[in-house]
């Protein structure tokens, strides 16, 4: 193609359509409208689909992008959002009635987002490239003629787009109305859909009046809402908000330790896991924390795995003996099979009848002194004090920096009652 930008909207290429095809009328009318409105070729991006309406991009002397079947409304919206960074540009997407059926969701999405673009739907009632099959926009009247699923109505695309929030949605059947309605569509600031009846002389009719007998009614529907503006904005670094943790305590015992904290959703297990890992770091240890919970995060088990190591941690799994903290039945059932004969388990008193194959099971009434939201924290603090791997103070220091410090520290105070 030429690198010289001319003022013509269309190239000199011969139209590739069958004799009498209506698509060419729409393209010529669009070119006139664009020139009337003062658009230069470099101001326009034409987005084309697949099918007969997808043959248009060589005809335009503008920017063009030619994509997949049914996707031009979505591709076009992507282009339109990008072009919002360059004022004065216009995105015009084309699609056929077959493509509009595939990409119905894309059209509704573009309508509700209402970003500035024009979508031209060339509805010739059928799939021209594959032999005249019906689409979701084929009317019952036409289907009665060709005896094809006559009991299934056509989508009313104009109504659907309007109901989804399109600034402008219109249907044009007769070519006489086309220039004016096309102009209104292109002038629209926001999403504009215009469905244009188009004659397929190969698989439908030879004459325009025959087509006029089967199409849906002409109409123009508008939603008085401003176009959505898309702007890129600089945002702060994610690392700015990272807490830098310094060694403030000496670890009690060197080595690698795996902790498995097991409770239920809503019990703060994931937060406690993070507090524990951070406390380990305050004692100069390397730490990892991994959460596990069902997809439905608000119910069922909640498990946090924490590893401490005085060496850098490579492998992050806990596949050997571990120190477990179990405060609910959900948590117990989730990790029961993982418990090895060398593990040591801190268990809430309510679960004391669980027959666990651990080396040692330490039973304490954690849930007697705090509610279900705090049991994991109290049990973990108790465990930490007993194990003496790191000072309990490292955990206390971590909690004091949290916005809920008061609640957490009150929970730690319950250790005394637990001892009593």
């Amino acid at each position: 193609m030429s690198t010289t930008v001319s003022t013509k909207i269309l190239t000199d290429k011969k139209f590739p359509f069958c004799p009498g095809c209506g698509h060419g009328i729409a393209i010529r009318n669009l070119a006139k409208v664009l020139q009337q409105l003062g658009y230069r070729p470099q101001d326009v991006a034409v987005v084309s689909d697949i099918g007969c309406s997808g043959l248009i991009d060589p005809l335009f002397a503008t920017h063009t992008i030619h994509g997949l079947h049914g996707r031009s409304p979505a591709l076009g919206l992507g282009v339109a959002m990008g072009l919002q960074q360059k004022p004065g540009k216009k995105t015009i997407a084309f699609i056929g009635d077959g493509g509009a059926t595939i990409g119905l969701q894309h059209i509704l999405e573009a309508a509700r987002r209402n970003v500035d673009m024009t979508l031209i739907v060339l509805n010739n009632q059928l799939y021209g490239m594959t032999g005249g099959q019906i689409s979701g926009l084929t009317t019952r009247k036409f289907k009665e003629i060709i005896d094809f699923e006559t009991d299934v109505p056509a989508f009313n695309l104009v109504h659907l787009a309007h109901a989804s929030g399109a600034r402008f949605a219109a249907r044009v059947d007769h070519p006489k109305q086309m220039p004016e309605v096309l102009k209104r569509a292109v002038e629209t600031e926001g999403f504009a859909l215009i469905e244009i009846a188009s004659l397929c002389t190969s698989y439908a009719f030879k004459r325009l009046d025959e087509l006029m007998d089967v199409v849906q009614e002409e109409e123009v529907l508008e939603n008085p809402r401003p176009a959505t503006q898309i702007r890129l904005a600089e945002r702060p670094s994610l690392l700015d908000r990272q807490e830098i943790i310094h060694k403030e305590y000496e670890p009690g015992r060197p080595g690698r330790y795996g902790f498995v904290l097991a409770g239920s959703a809503g019990g703060g297990v994931q937060s406690v896991g993070k507090f524990l890992a951070t406390a380990g770091m305050r004692a100069g240890l390397h730490a990892t924390m991994k959460g596990e919970y069902p997809i439905t995060v608000g119910t069922g088990f909640s498990v946090a795995e924490v590893i401490f190591d005085h060496r850098p941690i490579r492998y992050t799994g806990i596949d050997v003996d571990f120190i477990g903290v179990i405060v609910t039945t959900d948590g117990l059932e989730k990790i029961r099979k993982r418990i090895t004969p060398g593990s040591r388990i801190y268990l809430d008193e309510k679960l004391k009848d669980a027959d666990l194959p651990a080396r040692e099971v330490i039973v304490r009434p954690f849930t007697k002194y705090v509610n279900r939201k705090s049991a994991a924290l109290l049990a973990t603090a108790y465990m930490l004090r007993q194990e003496q791997i790191i000072p309990l103070e490292a955990l206390r220091e971590t909690l004091t920096k949290h916005r809920l410090a008061k609640v957490f520290l009150e929970t730690l105070d319950k250790l005394a009652e637990l001892d009593g």
């Binding site: 282009v79 600089e234 997809i295």
Partner: protein
């Protein structure tokens, strides 16, 4: 002056921060586990965030944005990637830069959304119709997550191609203590818009890659097309110029592979066994190698980070050992099959597993018994 900046951080945050610093401008995605932390961070960090209604729309919006010069990224998992495939092919044929992060999870189908895996590499090997090469980078630790996210942006923009960053739930949904001082300063990249001579949309200018002119440019008109086309973006069937253009899509990546091939080779004197791994299994392999060496067993470790296209150097390295153990968390050994096919020789052994991470003792067992392991 502080010597360390230790923090508790996850891989998702490092990847998204790196992408933002590297020149990525838009995060477009449909949320899916285990990529949802990246979705959260993408919203917080990238200059433009778009919540797409599905994964097909995601890729189409990304393509539209990229065609206007707004560099997009997304993150997803297999179910979402499956929906994206046709649109990824479109972006590949149009030569639109973008980064697609895949967080691998246990399949088949919806499988187990919160269980990690390394099971999507075979999909990427054949994801472009016709078997064309596409860059696949896979981080093996947090430093890689940072540097390879940067590399993904660079490669996508330099070679005008979608680039996959292949990670796993275990990389992006756990936290570890990490010294931020280990992260190198990143360079930011942009579309290569330098035109030489007459502009043609698909005339290769540098590195077998065309210069980029965005839609809406005031000085040059451009065309993008997903159909087979010549240098002017005219749609052609199987004429020589159009086929040459299609072949160039593969050649630009294979011929320039040295520019973006990344691996680590950890060697000791006298090793006759090699452990080859990638992605999330690398941590277990590193631990296994250290333990084996401490027991007096000399063994080397090759961690491949650019998985596709396959670099011939991988074969050269393997040829230097009596046995190679290829460890990866999937059923049949996907990278092993890509390297050697369905039937491998006696000196190529696999360590494969699904449902849980491969452990250091399992790797050690395979090496010590000199046998493949399928768990």
């Amino acid at each position: 002056m502080e010597t360390t900046q230790t923090t508790l951080i996850d891989g998702s945050k490092l990847i998204i921060e790196s992408l933002a610093r590297s020149g990525a401008q838009a995060f477009v995605a449909y949320p899916i586990t285990p990529s949802n932390w990246m979705y959260k961070y993408g919203k917080q960090r990238l200059p433009l965030f778009l919540a797409a209604p599905d994964e097909i729309t995601t890729l189409q919006w990304m393509a539209g944005l990229s065609a206007t010069g707004v560099m997009p990224v997304t993150s997803s998992a297999f179910p979402g990637i499956a929906l994206m495939v046709e649109s990824i092919n479109m972006a590949y044929a149009m030569e639109l830069p973008m980064v697609i992060i895949i967080t691998q999870r246990l399949g088949p189908s919806t499988g187990s959304a919160t269980t990690g895996a390394q099971g999507d590499l075979s999909l990427l090997k054949g994801i472009i119709s016709g078997g064309y090469a596409v860059p696949v980078l896979s981080p093996s630790d947090f430093v890689d997550a940072w540097t390879l996210a940067n590399e993904a942006v660079r490669v996508a923009l330099k070679y005008r191609t979608p680039v996959f960053l292949l990670t796993s739930k275990e990389m992006v949904m756990y936290q570890r203590s990490f010294d931020l001082n280990r992260l190198p300063t990143l360079r930011s990249y942009d579309y290569d818009r330098e035109i030489e001579g007459e502009f043609k949309p698909y005339k290769p200018v540098r590195n077998l890659t065309p210069a980029f002119v965005p839609l809406g440019d005031d000085n040059h008109l451009t065309r993008f097309t997903a159909s087979t086309h010549d240098e002017d973006a005219n749609i052609r069937k199987n004429d020589p110029e159009a086929l040459a253009n299609s072949k160039r899509l593969q050649e630009k990546l294979v011929q320039n592979l040295d520019d973006f091939f990344h691996m680590d080779l950890d060697t000791v004197e006298g090793a006759r066994d090699l452990i080859l791994t990638w992605g999330i299994t690398a941590d277990a392999a590193r631990e296994a190698v250290q333990q084996l060496r401490s027991r007096g067993k000399a063994v080397d470790l090759l961690t491949v980070k650019t998985l596709l296209p396959v670099h011939p150097r991988i074969y050269d390295i393997i040829d230097g050992y009596e046995r190679t153990f290829i460890a990866e968390e999937n059923l049949n050994g996907q990278f092993r099959q890509i390297l050697f096919g369905e039937k491998t020789s006696e000196n190529i052994l696999g360590i494969s597993k699904i449902g849980n991470m491969i452990t250091p003792p399992e790797i050690i067992r395979a090496v010590e018994t000199q046998k493949s392991l399928q768990l």
